[in-house]
């Protein structure tokens, strides 16, 4: 098979997972080695995936696995954020006593599942990828077994996720029944008219996907899981599965079912508006930063979906841009969360940030930048993310969606401001340790710098993303 060179990165990943597992079993006390090798693996597959840029798109395995510009870009983003997630959380894992060989291996398996999702062009392949990433995530969420919160979040995620997978699978079978195939391209050519079975199938699959990106009303798991899981898993939850799920959203909606846009557009608009409003309003009362970030990510997913609801290439591109900048902002924010520790203990409520700016001016500045950016205040990157979304939305004259979205940013600004207020206006409470490892510093500084200086050359990212053409 000459085409195998298109999936070198997945193959490398799969083989290294097995290899690392073997090393881990036979070599004692190898968790640090395996962790570093995992980062190295991600780096290698990131470079391998870069080499695919600019090549023509191909389909593999009887057209069920697609390598195109979209998949290459999203995989690149996935691997890169994987690297930084791992780099930033090393210290946390050690201190939290979950620095075990299984951890990086589970992360890698989950990432492998996501890359399969991203490239899938067939319902079965897509489902396989989804389950692979979910299974690894169930374990990761409850990785701190002795902590009841962590165990609870793992169980909660498992039960609800299994339910949604069930719905998704049912949707797949409905679509197979009515369209006669599981392949996206064949489904697309087989659909001649709207019928209820097909619409129902789409709805079921959308429900399953909405669950994965925690869009309202399928968000219930997110706050508990975000709060209960170890922070190193929370940052993973907040970033990587969303990249994969959004790609599937794009492919699923725009390849087989683009002709049924009238059927699903309303659903996406509803999901988007509900997520934006709910995420903004519900976050106001939160005290725990991780929980707050769960609501914040719900509302951010609402914006990303708004771009998808538009039904144009510009809309898809704006969504992908939003996702990329969202990843960077979350990376920056969670990296600063990792810095809030004294000796062995990590702090994660808003009150713990009280007066942070007195003793930690740099860290506070980084949080200021990432929070204002999350709130979408110009000239930071978060503003541009929203700007592209609204450009796409208003082009199609969907003013209602745009105005609701913008008003929800005002509400959301309130709770971001509240954190900034605690950092800058309140009296200082405690001093945190300043000895952070290089990886954490690197990911915080890099991500914050990108957010703060994005406005100087915003067309760079756009010129890459504008090559993603789906329709």
């Amino acid at each position: 098979m000459t085409n195998l060179n298109f999936i070198y990165s997945e193959l490398t990943l799969a083989f290294s997972i097995m290899l690392l597992l073997i090393i881990g079993v036979f070599k004692k006390k190898s968790s640090s080695l395996i962790y570093n090798l995992s980062i190295l693996t991600l780096l290698i597959i990131f470079i391998l995936s870069l080499s695919l840029f600019g090549k023509n798109s191909t389909s593999l395995f009887i057209n069920s696995y697609k390598i195109d510009y979209l998949s290459t870009f999203m995989k690149g983003l996935l691997y890169l954020s994987g690297i930084f997630v791992m780099l930033s959380s090393t210290r946390y894992l050690i201190l939290f006593q979950i620095f075990k060989i299984e951890y990086p291996i589970l992360l890698l398996s989950s990432i492998l599942g996501m890359s399969i999702m991203i490239s899938s062009n067939d319902l079965i392949v897509f489902y396989m990828g989804l389950e692979l990433q979910s299974l690894a995530l169930y374990v990761l969420a409850s990785f701190k077994r002795e902590n009841p919160l962590s165990a609870e979040s793992g169980l909660k995620y498992f039960v609800l996720s299994a339910l949604s997978s069930g719905l998704l699978l049912y949707g797949c079978s409905l679509i197979y029944g009515y369209a006669g195939s599981t392949n996206f391209d064949i489904i697309s050519s087989n659909i001649n008219s709207v019928n209820y079975g097909l619409t129902l199938g789409i709805v079921f699959i959308l429900v399953g996907l909405a669950f994965k990106i925690s869009a309202v009303p399928f968000h219930m798991w997110a706050p508990d899981v975000y709060q209960g899981s170890p922070t190193s898993v929370t940052i993973f939850f907040a970033i990587l599965p969303k990249i994969a799920a959004l790609t599937v959203f794009i492919r699923f909606l725009y390849i087989p079912f683009i002709n049924l846009i009238d059927q699903w557009q309303v659903i996406i608009i509803f999901l988007s508006i509900a997520s934006m409003i709910f995420g903004a309003v519900a976050a106001i009362g939160q005290k725990n930063l991780k929980r707050l970030m769960a609501y914040s990510s719900i509302s951010h997913m609402g914006f990303a979906l708004a771009g998808l609801a538009v039904g144009t290439n510009e809309g898809i591109q704006s969504s992908i841009t939003y996702m990329s900048l969202y990843v960077i902002m979350n990376l920056s924010f969670f990296s600063s969360l990792f810095m809030l520790k004294i000796n062995q203990k990590y702090y994660e409520t808003i009150d713990d940030l009280s007066g942070l700016s007195k003793n930690h001016p740099m860290l506070s500045l980084a949080m200021l930048v990432s929070l204002f950016s999350l709130a979408g205040i110009p000239p930071l990157a978060g503003f541009f993310a929203k700007f592209y979304i609204f450009m796409a939305v208003i082009e199609q004259e969907m003013y209602f969606l745009a105005i609701v979205g913008l008003l929800s940013t005002v509400v959301a600004a309130f709770y971001y401001l509240r954190i900034i207020k605690t950092i800058y206006f309140d009296e200082e409470k405690q001093k945190y340790d300043k000895d952070h490892n290089l990886g954490l510093k690197l990911s915080l500084i890099l991500s914050t710098l990108i957010i703060a200086t994005y406005f100087i050359y915003p067309s760079g990212l756009i010129s890459i993303i504008s090559k993603i053409i789906i329709i």
Partner: protein, 495 residues
Amino acid sequence: MNFPILSSLILLPIVGALFIFFINSDKNNKSTKYVSLFISLANLLLSLYLWLVFNKDTSNFQFVENREWLGIINYKVGIDGISILFVILTTFITPLCILSVNSTIKYRLKEFLISILVMESLMIGVFCSLDLVIFYLFFEGGLIPMFLIIGIWGGERRVYSAFKFFLYTLLGSVLMLVAIITIYWVTGTTDVVELYSIGIPKELQNILWLAFFSSFAVKTPMWPVHTWLPDAHVEAPTAGSVLLAAILLKMAGYGFIRFSLGLFPIASEYFIPFVYTLSIVAIIYTSLVALMQEDMKKLIAYSSVAHMGFVTLGIFTMTQQGIEGSIFQMISHGLVSAALFLCVGVVYERKHTRLIKDYGGLVSEMPKYAIVFMVFTLGAVGLPGTTGFIGEFLILMGTFKKSFIAAILASIGVILSAAYMLWLYRRVVFGRLNNANLKGILDLNKSETLILWILAVPTVFFGFYPEPLFGTIETSVSEFLIQYNVNINLYVTEK
């Protein structure tokens, strides 16, 4: 013009702020203060040079820079007669703010100076930008440093005020963003110069005008969305109040001229009665409210609302006198209100109270203070010989041309302003020294004297000899109005 002078004006303070951020400050913060003062003075000189080489006989945009930026949107800056004075006002006020921190900012001086410098950059950017998106970027970006200035260095209720300021202005502005994007999709550009010549479709003008209005009205602030202003002013540190009153409020007045009138002539014409009503209510109502205030800063804040009421009134007369008067009034208010806030700051630093009843008879202890305070009180009242008079006079003249009743009502505001300002002055400065606390209160020190007299000189100078200012704005305003009337006629004949 090859040297990007406007971009330098915008960037210089930010570069200075970065520099201050990275230099390791010594304990007494002397060097940070000198660096920031130096930067802001350099910026002032640069802007004065700009004024010198500015060609007053053309209404075209000058020193235009146009760079690729966002693919579809270009970074475009340039100035004409309408905007140059605001740029100079900004660069003129900022060094004074930095000078004033000596006595008013007790902690975290370095961060404060960084905020002020970043603020200066953004404000200059607002007045220079010739692209709607760039304008929005600068306009909204200013929220971040101002939020911090009020929140970190403010008074007791600083958190409430900072939040109110931020959320009010953000809420107003998001609708403007929708309008800007809509304009882009309707016309294919957000370049202001191009938009002037293309024109906005008639049926969209009213709704877009309202979206822009929602943002500018909050920022101006117009009645009834002015309530954030007294809070923000009262709680902000002196330098923050000065920036707010002198420059931030002018961004909206400038926006009304440049965007509301320039882009939506039909809608502006249509909404004249609406704006007149709000302005008149603002002038009379807030003047009455000002009369009742017990807090000096609050009184001046309400007087700001009233003065900005004159400005909006003048702008929407669409006459040469009205618009020139408004610009003049904004410059004058920038000088006078800045000085008044500094005056309040002087006594507040000494006695830590802003209540009028705690003062009285200051003239016997602080003669120097009494003199400068008098100059600015008269400037706020609009006495002939100060800049305040010329602005108000021209605005009223323009208003008489359009609406007799509006002019009469606005004139009542002039009387009221004399009432509350003079009454304030009498209660604080004259009378007997009843409060034993005030005995031995120190008169102005050197830096305070310097700052206040630097503000007093142009207030009186331009009051007697306004020609340099009018000479700068005249051509641009008259061309602007000609273009405006051409557009109106065009739309009318099209129909």
